[in-house]
């Protein structure tokens, strides 16, 4: 059944060869497999404790959405915890007509909302919508006679699963959990069931949960709010324009059908990567994966993102009003992760923000100007993304002053000849971080999945280390001059209502 495209036992040899004559060897064997249906499986056995960490990466995220269904990847992630035809139910067949009825009622809600948007509001529209939603709620309650509340969690937790959760980002969605190694078959049954036949019960109440998440992370959190507005000002055409959670008006209008279609399209074995790290034996794991996942049908996955961000041509500035202390976000468009400039960005990030000797730490925190800052490349890897700084000034320091410090810090990379030691520090630091990442099961799993997904090479670290080691001071100047310019920049100030800049 399983067609082994290639079976390699990769001896991961991380080496700090530029800096040390000793070549460190790590006895970690990572194997890569491909099932007939296109499912990728990566296994990294580490038998230090009787625990396995599982990560399933679906190559779908908010970048695959469009206006009208923004945030649907995230909604789909939520719905994956609502059971299957066997899990979370005592009689699935009895649930089906109730869910159909709920969906029919919601179609009426959508019709009313369409009229509202076009300003052709029928009389009493809000009351009608409210009544329809109440009826849906009533049906969802009735459905509970046949469902078992939160069974996915209760059943798996009872046998020792933990940290069962998921997260959606711009380019991908991750599902993960820890489980004791005696639960491998239970894991295979459970994860394959929800890849094959999830049931999106409790759809409408879960949508309210997503709304609560939206309120929590966006409307009532100054940092989340600022990021959403900042991103939307920096990205105008590309689907990185909206934050992963999506726009509120899209969230309230998702239909179950839309989310099912989305799932069918993207949650296919040929669009997924399974990574198992920990107390796992390759033969046993592959046998079970083949048994449970092998018959799930692949889907035709097409590239949907053809829009590219046009050149910005001019600095953008926005002011966001929020009842919170002032803060700043400032960023630039950058290349995608598999571009040759990416390793240079990584070195620049290190020089600017890693450790107390970094440029921004010294200029912002060490100088007493700011209480907090971070620099991030976002989690946008597949397409050209962003490179941005966030900072909150100390009392008596203006945002303008912080902006000036940040500009000077960026500009220093264009003009000042950084020392050999500084460059070496960044390179060593990046390679050191690779080790730290690899020594944590969760991070190792993410790293392996990402390497395969983005770079097509589970062994990508080897190439990456070579790329990092090749970087010169001239590369840093070149990239800084190319990207860190006003015409490529957006600056967002968060101020209290009525507060002056």
């Amino acid at each position: 059944m399983r067609r082994k495209i290639f079976f390699t036992i990769l001896l991961l040899i991380f080496s700090v060869f530029l800096f040390s004559e000793d070549v460190e060897k790590i006895n970690l064997k990572v194997s890569l497999h491909k099932l007939k249906n296109g499912l990728t499986v990566i296994i990294a056995p580490i038998h230090d404790t009787p625990i396995i960490y599982s990560l399933i990466r679906y190559k779908v995220g908010s970048v695959n959405e469009h206006v009208g269904i923004t945030g649907i990847s995230h909604m789909c992630e939520h719905m994956m915890f609502k059971g299957t035809k066997e899990i979370q139910t005592v009689n699935y067949q009895k649930e089906v007509p109730l869910m159909k009825k709920e969906d029919e009622l919601f179609k009426k809600v959508i019709e009313l909302r369409k009229a509202k948007v076009r300003n052709c509001t029928p009389p009493d529209v809000d009351r009608k919508i409210k009544n329809l939603l109440l009826k849906i709620k009533g049906l969802e309650r009735s459905q509970k006679i046949y469902s078992v509340q939160n069974d996915i969690d209760v059943s798996t937790f009872s046998v020792g699963f933990s940290r069962l959760s998921a997260d959606t980002s711009f380019d991908r969605t991750h599902y993960y959990e820890y489980f004791p190694s005696n639960c491998l078959e239970a894991w295979a049954y459970f994860e394959s069931s929800r890849m094959r036949e999830p049931v999106f019960r409790e759809f409408y109440s879960e949508r309210n949960v997503v709304l609560e998440e939206y309120y929590q992370t966006t409307e009532n959190d100054p940092d989340g709010f600022l990021f959403g507005r900042f991103l939307a000002s920096l990205m105008i055409a590309h689907p990185y324009h909206w934050d992963v959670i999506g726009w509120k008006s899209d969230i309230i209008n998702y239909t179950r059908e839309k989310v099912y279609n989305y799932h069918k399209k993207y949650y296919a074995p040929n669009n997924a990567i399974i990574v198992l790290v920990g107390d796992v034996y390759e033969d046993e794991a592959l046998k079970l994966i083949k048994k449970y996942f092998g018959s799930i049908k692949p889907q035709k996955i097409e590239e949907t993102v053809l829009t590219s961000e046009p050149p910005q041509r001019g600095e953008k500035r926005i002011v966001v009003r929020f009842n919170a202390s002032p803060r700043l976000m400032m960023g630039f468009h950058k290349c995608q992760a598999n571009s040759e400039d990416q390793p240079v960005f990584d070195v620049i990030e290190y020089l600017l923000s890693h450790g107390r000797s970094s440029i921004l730490y010294k200029n912002l925190i060490g100088s007493g100007k700011a209480s907090y800052f971070y620099l991030s490349q976002g989690d946008m890897k597949r397409y050209p993304g962003i490179f941005y700084v966030y900072s909150m000034p100390n009392e008596g320091v203006s945002l303008k002053e912080i902006e000036g410090i940040v500009w000077n810090s960026f500009n220093s990379l264009k003009h000042i000849n950084i020392s050999n030691r500084e460059l070496l520090k960044a390179k060593k630091g990046i390679i050191g971080n690779l080790y730290y990442t690899a020594s944590d099961k969760e991070n190792l799993a993410v790293m392996l999945a990402e390497y395969y997904d983005i770079y097509g090479d589970v062994n990508y670290y080897e190439k990456y280390i070579k790329e990092i080691n090749k970087i010169t001071k001239e590369d840093i100047r070149r990239v800084a001059r190319k990207y860190f310019v006003r015409d490529n920049c957006a600056i967002a100030y968060l101020l209290r209502p009525g507060e002056k800049e």
């Binding site: 309650r141 509340q149 209480s371």
Partner: protein, 491 residues
């Protein structure tokens, strides 16, 4: 006739409301089991080979004078992880906030041997990481390094811990930063709510101001020096190394760089202020305009009388709100009602005094009352035995089997062991945890719930634009208004 009709209508309404109330919660306490659930259980029935790590076999413990050092070797990656604890947390404060400032200043300080700039340069050049994290009971040392850079790391750590030179200028910078961080966290209603909850619950006890920046300006450099001299002694420090370690090498480097004068420093006796078991019942509202959600924290202090209490209350907490998506809170408030994204409970015992039981969530302003009422109703379901035998079984297995998750890395295992020791607890608590949990009965669960559930003694802290909802909130207790600093606002 008219009177009878009114009575009849009233009776019908009353009956309906009782039925609907029952209906509302009927699904939350259940014996139902799905086909899939049974399969998962069956497929996981193979016995797990697991034994608790043994000192001298899996991990080692050494004493260098009064300094305690743990080692847990694992040779997969050329990295070492350090978790350290200095018993110099907020609870030992000789002046408000002095512990926090000392810990933060320590990392920024020059030393008698190296400038701070040089230390940072060495650590960053090697790709090493080192932080001192202030806490309520201890200061945590968090570090990692590549084994080839061990000497530099241990030198930097030792110089900072044993030979700091505290300066007024750096204290100013640290104070500014702390104030800024406090402001940033006050901007988020949920974090503001947490701050106020601890402040009200613990009152003047040091635990009460941990999340605040109050009193920072009153701490001078001499206060920091005195605090450091009293509490940064080897007998109060525990270091735990895991990863690619050679014990002899680490011990000799620590001896060399900490130096004899530090390792033989005089130990001072320190007593901790006990938390008074007082209740502060009432609904404390901090009004925050322009927010669309309310942040909710409520709970009470708990007296732990015997070890067995820990297991019973842990199980109660696990089923109630401590087991994330499997908990009754999440099932009802998030998944049935759809009124919160996160809701949970916490049984806080990782402190030297004053264990705490709390519940918390964020919800739309208009569902604040409902969220609290639902949480209280669920709590009552344990006391009044609506929780089913099946749910008890599932929860007990979940807590017992889930304990394994603490063993996902050797670093976590060692940290668990060391933290247990710092809390003055016997290792048997960890060794026997699973066995003790499996021995708990349904009656133990009910008893634990009875010990904890006491809505009339709860302190409810709410942050949000809640003025128009106060009428209903009164049902939970007397309303008090507090400002963002936790001061009572008089009408």
């Amino acid at each position: 006739m008219k009177k009878n009709t009114i009575f009849l209508i009233f009776l019908l309404l009353f009956t309906y409301s009782s039925i609907s109330k029952d209906k509302r919660y009927k699904n939350i306490f259940t014996d139902k089991e799905s086909i899939g659930g049974k399969k998962i259980k069956k497929l996981a029935s193979k016995e797990l080979k697991f034994s608790f790590p043994v000192e001298g076999r899996e991990y080692l413990k050494f004493k260098v004078k009064n300094l305690t050092i743990y080692f847990y070797p694992e040779k997969i990656f050329p990295t070492v992880r350090l978790h350290g604890y200095i018993k110099a947390g907020e609870i030992y404060d000789t002046k408000k906030q002095v512990s926090k400032l000392t810990a933060l200043l320590l990392r920024e300080s020059d030393t008698q041997k190296m400038k701070n700039r040089e230390i940072n340069d060495v650590l960053d050049f090697d790709g090493s990481q080192l932080e001192f994290i202030p806490g309520r009971d201890w200061v945590e040392i968090d570090g990692k390094y590549l084994v080839e850079n061990e000497e530099n790391f241990l030198k930097s750590l030792s110089y900072l811990v044993a030979r700091p030179i505290f300066s007024e200028d750096k204290l100013k910078v640290v104070k500014k930063r702390l104030k800024g961080e406090a402001k940033r966290s006050d901007d988020v209603p949920f974090l503001l709510c947490r701050k106020l909850f601890y402040k009200i619950i613990y009152g003047n006890h040091p635990y009460g101001y941990f999340y605040t920046a109050e009193g920072i300006d009153d701490v001078g450099i001499e206060d920091v020096k005195n605090f450091y001299n009293k509490f940064y002694t080897p007998g109060r420090i525990v270091l735990a190394f895991s990863g690619d370690i050679k014990t002899g090498r680490i011990i000799s480097a620590l001896k060399k760089y900490l130096g004899e004068s530090f390792l033989t420093r005089e130990e001072h006796r320190a007593t901790i202020p006990e938390v008074k078991m007082e209740f502060k019942p009432g609904v404390y509202i901090c009004e925050k305009k322009h927010v669309t959600q309310a942040a909710i924290y409520f709970g009470r202090l708990i007296k732990i009388e015997k070890e067995r209490d820990l297991y019973g209350i842990s199980l109660f907490n696990h089923i109630l709100g401590g087991s994330s998506f499997a908990s009754k809170y999440t099932q009802q408030i998030r998944d049935i009602e759809g009124i919160a994204y996160r809701v949970d409970s916490k049984f806080e015992t990782d402190n030297l005094t004053g264990a705490l039981f709390l519940s918390r969530c964020r919800t739309k302003l208009e569902s604040t009352y409902r969220a609290i009422a639902d949480m209280l109703w669920i709590q009552d379901g344990f006391v009044n035995r609506r929780i089913t035998a099946h749910e008890f079984e599932m929860g007990r297995s979940g807590l017992g089997n889930g304990f394994i998750k603490n063993f996902n890395t050797v670093d976590n295992i060692l940290n668990l062991i060391v933290k247990n020791e710092i809390l003055g607890r016997n290792i048997s608590i960890l060794k026997n945890f699973r066995k003790e949990v499996y021995n708990l009965s349904y009656e133990d669960l009910v008893e634990a719930a009875k010990r904890v559930v006491s809505p009339e003694n709860y302190t409810y802290v709410l942050v949000g634009d809640l003025k128009e909802y106060e009428g209903r909130l009164k049902k939970f207790g007397k309303i008090y208004r507090v400002d963002e600093k936790g001061n009572m606002i008089k009408k």
